[in-house]
């Protein structure tokens, strides 16, 4: 007897992530044991149990920080997507613009954000704006690169086929180029999403009144390493949630990419 689809699906998901979860559990257990055996000072490296206690102690203040950082990350990502796609569209259409901008974009990526962030604060103040700008700057590069590749890599013969039907440029764009580039855009957006929370945190280090970045900085100056780790874990969790959200969007926008071979009809 086969289990019902939902159960089978959940079993499949559990089976996929089980090894990773087991490894993580082993690492945490080993960490806890190490601290207890060697009696490491908590301000050097706190035990997982101590980090958990620190979390319970300060959980009341966390939602505010989480809201600030997640807002910055999501807004920054949205800006990166809008600006990235617009720039990619121009670069894909005008070869001259592509040749001029590509090297500049690569050079722009070699400037460390830690150097750029203070300059942005001078320009945009201490509010959320400079952090959103940092996230957008970090995220728009992978989006531009993969979207340009997607738009220019479309199958020429497919474009010709649609043209032979009498399609104008706009129809070619709509029926071939955009769907062709959609999966590429999402692989760029996935990378951008993975970096967006870290981008927001770096922005907050340079000066902020709320957010996980400033929470970590304050905890560090107070030698509360356990709280620093609470911040780190929250950053990781937030990144995972954002990444998963992009994955869901990608599946909705390009369902044909996720057709399983088991459904194949012969």
């Amino acid at each position: 007897m086969k289990p019902p689809p939902l159960v089978r699906q959940s079993l499949g998901v559990a089976g996929r992530y089980l090894p990773a979860i087991v490894l993580l559990a082993l690492l945490v257990a080993g960490w806890e044991a190490w601290i207890r055996v060697f009696d490491t000072k908590p301000y050097v490296l706190p035990a997982p149990s101590r980090i958990w206690r620190a979390f319970l102690e300060i959980r009341g203040t966390l939602p505010g920080h989480l809201r600030t950082t997640s807002t910055e990350a999501v807004y920054g990502l949205a800006w990166a997507a809008v600006v990235g796609v617009a720039l990619a569209a121009i670069m894909a259409t005008v070869p001259l613009v592509r040749r001029v901008l590509y090297p500049l974009l690569v050079v722009s990526q070699t400037i460390p954000m830690v150097v750029l962030a203070p300059i942005l604060i001078v320009g945009f103040g201490f509010g959320m704006t400079p952090k959103i700008v940092v996230v957008a700057l970090v995220g728009f590069f992978p989006i531009v690169v993969s979207t340009v590749e997607g738009l220019t890599g479309a199958d020429r013969e497919m474009v010709d086929l649609v043209r032979s039907m009498g399609a104008n440029r706009l129809q070619v764009l709509r029926h071939v180029l955009i769907p062709w580039a959609t999966p590429a855009f999402f692989s760029g957006l996935r990378i951008a999403a993975a970096y967006s929370v870290v981008g927001a945190v770096i922005g907050e280090w340079m000066g902020a009144s709320s957010g996980l970045g400033i929470f970590i900085t304050r905890s560090q100056t107070a030698f509360r390493t356990d709280r620093v780790f609470v911040g780190i874990v929250l950053i990781a969790l937030m990144s995972i949630v954002l990444f998963a959200a992009v994955e869901v969007l990608a599946r909705l926008a390009s369902p044909w990419m996720y057709v399983t071979k088991t459904e194949e009809h012969q």
Binding site: D160, R163, M165, G166, A167, S254, W256, V259, H265, Q266
Partner: protein
Amino acid sequence: MTGGGIDVHGLRHTFSGAAGDVQALDGVDLAVPGGTFATVVGPSGCGKSTLLRILAGLLIPGAGEATIDGETVIGAPGRSAYMPQKDLLLPWRRALANATLGAEVAGISHAEARQRARALFEPFGLAGFEKAWPSQLSGGMRQRLALLRTFLLPAGALLLDEPFGALDAITRREMHRWLQDVWLADRRTVLLITHDVEEALFLSDTVSVMSPRPGKMVAHVPVPFARPREGSIVTSPDFVALKAKLLAALDAAGTG
């Protein structure tokens, strides 16, 4: 729907590339009366596909005239139903939506296009696969879907570039009988390109032979067999004799 005739006069084309110029067509003449099935056979690389791309309005030739139903098609896509060698189904569209692509481009109402497409899934042997993604279809089904999409285009002339080239011999023979049936049902003008002489004879009213590059027409052979033709016709003495004649013309073109 009876289609308009295809007329080609003195078509010449040369491709210029980094490796030098390649003359693909050298004065091609061809006349396909409306509502008939014509085939061009020729060796690989003789410029057959170039001829079809010009007729589809995708490629502007160096010289010459090409009209469908009396209207020029030079640089004017959208006047014929063109089917390239590859099926080129759009992977992001399910089978039914792939079939209605041409209608959508032509601005025909969505509901009407879907209704017409749905009605053709049965005769094209695709019933029940309306919602399948192209990646879920077999090679033969993909090819039939590409043909269905071509048949649905609101054009009087069909241009088919080796539509069965990628299929195995058995599926191919099946597709020949089936294409004859669907073509007899609406009698549009067809210009088929192939290098398979048997396919050409089984399906066509006339077969034209093209020389190797630079391509030009070297023989026009009428095919007198009554329709509908049975699959067994390919072993009849008359068919075999005509096949021998065509192969001889191809050989003569190759050495000449």
